[in-house]
């Protein structure tokens, strides 16, 4: 190996400490340098701070919903307040937390690092999308808190356009605005992944994390405009009586469900796919093994993004959809299980015979795999036509999608946050506290949501604030679980903030992980790499013991 070759393979070696430029956190200090930054890493942290705030608000609303359900007769809050609370929980968690969560924070921070680019293709557009996001989300949140909306996050017509007496239009306007932020982020990622890869970074040398974000960006680009249209039509009908959904105005209510779920089912994969990308990175790093069946996992991401556009009808099995359509949608919904299972089996095969370390990120990844399987399999129950007739709109559905979104996305988000925390901040988090927090969240989550499967199976409908007294025990159990979950969330919130000042300084690669993001310093310099990396090796090159990095 020539000396030049070593330099190319390992960008870490030639760095001279004295000449090192300040990292991106310390390059500038003013408030202005944060709010007008075009650095993708700083924008990622802006997103991280904002969505954490939104998550806390959404979680408070959820806590109040669970509090209300402790008693069967709904004495704690009025009907209207209860409806506003679960709407607030759903709108904030889905539109303002889960959808931007992993893509806008980790994706923003890591995609350029992972493909060896200096920044995203359009840095100013990236900053604009944060401002657009904040404008829309803060506006809607103020509306939700001050006025309240009672339609649920789904805004079904004609209730939302004709009958609801709450502040539907302002809430819709905010959600529409946030959609533009998603589109701009997706556009930026697609162009970046196509055009900004460093020399030698071919498509099949990209980490799975980048693949899943590519798939998600396609959903952002193809799905979001349709929900923008659907919500715009709602505004038109409610504000100007241009009838599109209300039959009395000449409209068709099922049309809204078609337009809504054409985006909102793929939106589930906006939430899940990035989580899958995170878990793939975690599993490979903490097993010190190349991802099993790398190409299949990559293709499965694109496969999921494609099939997910063809299953929206499974939300309408009992809404007067034709038998033929329901059968086709049911079949296609089963088909989603195939790429999902490819991923799960490949993760377990990656762990198999690996050098496993059970650090906090890996605990979250393991939790993710287990809960995602449970959430996925119960999805198959719901995709079965006859079973869905029984389970539709019950707590079984609620439990199912919380297993996917909280058990899936949220655990992946926390796992990824711990894994890349040293890279983001240059500090290590306290490992022992991390593990305790991960266990609490896992236990709290299951105690909260598993009883809801049983409740739903027994016939408790969702979105009601009173229920027959025989369901009280399971409801109390679920509410008790949610307090454990809440305590669990306070752990990372506390010690991660603590670590910003008191955490151990992080080395460039604390996990002995492979991937370009670990070849640069922690935290990285302003333009990510001191010199453009050149890649001449496969992804997840763990078999190559001669190199520590990259």
């Amino acid at each position: 190996m020539s000396p030049l070759d070593t330099v190319l393979r390992d960008p870490d070696t030639p760095r001279i400490t004295l000449d090192r430029p300040a990292d991106y956190l310390h390059a500038q200090h003013t408030l202005r340098s944060w709010f007008f930054t075009t650095d993708h890493k700083r924008i990622a942290l802006l997103y991280l701070a904002s969505i954490t705030g939104f998550f806390i608000l959404g979680a408070c609303a959820a806590g109040l919903v669970r509090l209300s359900l402790v008693v069967p007769n709904g004495q704690i809050f009025s009907n209207d307040t209860y409806n506003k609370l679960f709407t607030m929980h759903g709108v904030i968690m889905i539109w303002f937390f889960l959808i931007p969560s992993i893509p806008a924070t980790f994706g923003n921070f890591l995609i350029p690092l992972m493909i060896g680019a200096k920044d995203l293709a359009f840095p100013r557009l990236n900053l604009l999308s944060w401002y657009v996001f904040m404008l829309g989300s803060l506006f809607t949140i103020v509306v939700l808190i001050v006025g309240g909306v009672d339609t649920g996050w789904t805004f079904y017509a004609p209730f939302s356009t004709t009958y609801s007496n709450t502040y539907v239009i302002p809430a819709l306007v905010g959600v529409i605005i946030v959609g533009f932020s998603s589109i701009l982020t997706g556009l930026n990622f697609v162009v970046t992944i196509h055009k900004m890869r460093c020399p030698g970074m071919t498509w099949f040398r990209m980490p799975i994390f980048v693949w899943t974000h590519y798939a998600v960006s396609l959903i952002f680009l193809l799905g979001t405009p349709v929900i923008t249209l659907a919500l715009m039509l709602l505004v038109m009908e409610r504000a100007f009586h241009i009838g599109v959904f209300d039959p009395r105005l000449g409209g068709d209510p099922v049309l809204f469900e078609h337009l809504f779920w054409f985006y909102s089912h793929p939106a589930v994969y906006i939430m899940v796919l990035p989580g899958m990308g995170v878990v793939t990175e975690l599993v490979a790093a903490f097993s010190q093994k190349r991802v099993f069946g790398y190409k299949f996992v990559a293709y499965a991401s694109i496969g999921l993004a494609s099939i997910t556009f063809l299953v929206w009808g499974h939300h309408m099995f009992v809404n007067g959809q034709s038998q033929l359509a329901s059968t086709v949608f049911s079949f296609l919904s089963f088909a989603v299980a195939v790429p999902s299972a490819v991923k799960v089996y490949n993760w377990t095969a990656t762990i198999h015979k690996g050098t496993i370390r059970l650090d906090t990120p890996m605990l979250y990844a393991m939790g993710y795999i287990g809960l995602f399987v449970l959430g996925g399999v119960t999805g198959l129950f719901l995709a079965t036509l006859a079973v869905d007739a029984h389970l539709h709109d019950t707590y079984f559905v609620v439990a199912h999608f919380h297993y996917i979104m909280v058990g899936g996305t949220m655990l992946a988000f926390l796992g990824g946050l711990h894994y890349w925390w040293p890279k983001f901040t240059g500090r290590m988090y306290p490992e022992a506290w991390g593990r305790v927090g991960a266990f609490l969240i896992f236990i709290g989550f299951n105690v909260t949501f598993f009883p809801q499967f049983i409740l739903g199976y027994l016939g408790m409908p969702r979105r009601y604030h009173s229920y027959p007294p025989e369901f009280q025990l399971l409801n109390v159990l679920s509410s008790a679980g949610s307090t454990i979950l809440a305590v669990g969330y306070f752990f990372p919130l506390g010690y991660l903030i603590w670590s910003l000042w008191f955490g151990k300084k992080a080395p460039a690669n604390p996990w002995q992980a492979k991937g370009l993001e670990w070849t640069t310093s922690s935290p990285p310099p302003a333009h990510n790499f001191l010199r453009t990396p050149v890649v001449d090796y496969q992804p997840y090159d763990y078999a190559n013991k001669t190199r520590d990095n990259g």
Binding site: A117, V190, V191, K195, M232, I242, V244, L249, G251
Partner: protein, 221 residues
Amino acid sequence: MADIGIAAEPVDLELAEQFTTKAQQREAATLGMWAWLVTELLLFAGLFLCALILRIQHPQSVTLVTTHLKFWIGATNTVVLICSSLTMSAAIVTSRLGWRRFMLGALLATASLGSLFLLLKGFEYYQDYDEHMMPFLADRSYVLAHDQASVLFLDVYYITTGLHGVHLITGISILLWLTWKASRPAFLQTHQNRIEIYGLYWHFIDLIWIIVFPVLYVLNR
């Protein structure tokens, strides 16, 4: 180019810091605009699909509505937009050659044709109003009130053409801003590709109308 008496200016691109080469920057900008146009297509696709499904479900009602739509205004507007695409192409070609004055003229011509489209469209809406073709106005009777199924198609017509109009208004505003920017001497030397990128958007608005026109006005007339 001295033989036709137009002074050509140097044409180039200023390299932004996140890119390594100008070719990369150009390709990224083009791909970015195409990605945006895909989202625009999807935005309209839902409406086109609604219109087509209504044509299958309620052919008679839809035909009744289309006979009331102003076919000749729509057809004239189609020609107007195609001409504006021609002037836009002229602006792109002349921007590549560095013929700044010619290019500015072509950009202004494009903006004028776009505005002419909006004027004609406004006149068409006025005629629709005059003929009691606005079912959503509570204080005004609807001429096809005996046919409830016609309402949805007509509403889709207003929303589709209205959304297209909003795109034209934004398009013309950006175009005027771009023309003002491009009138500065250094523009072609640093940002020539903005004209090309904008051209993609303008052609696309044109293309959307070319789908709107047959779907709403022409089929089954």
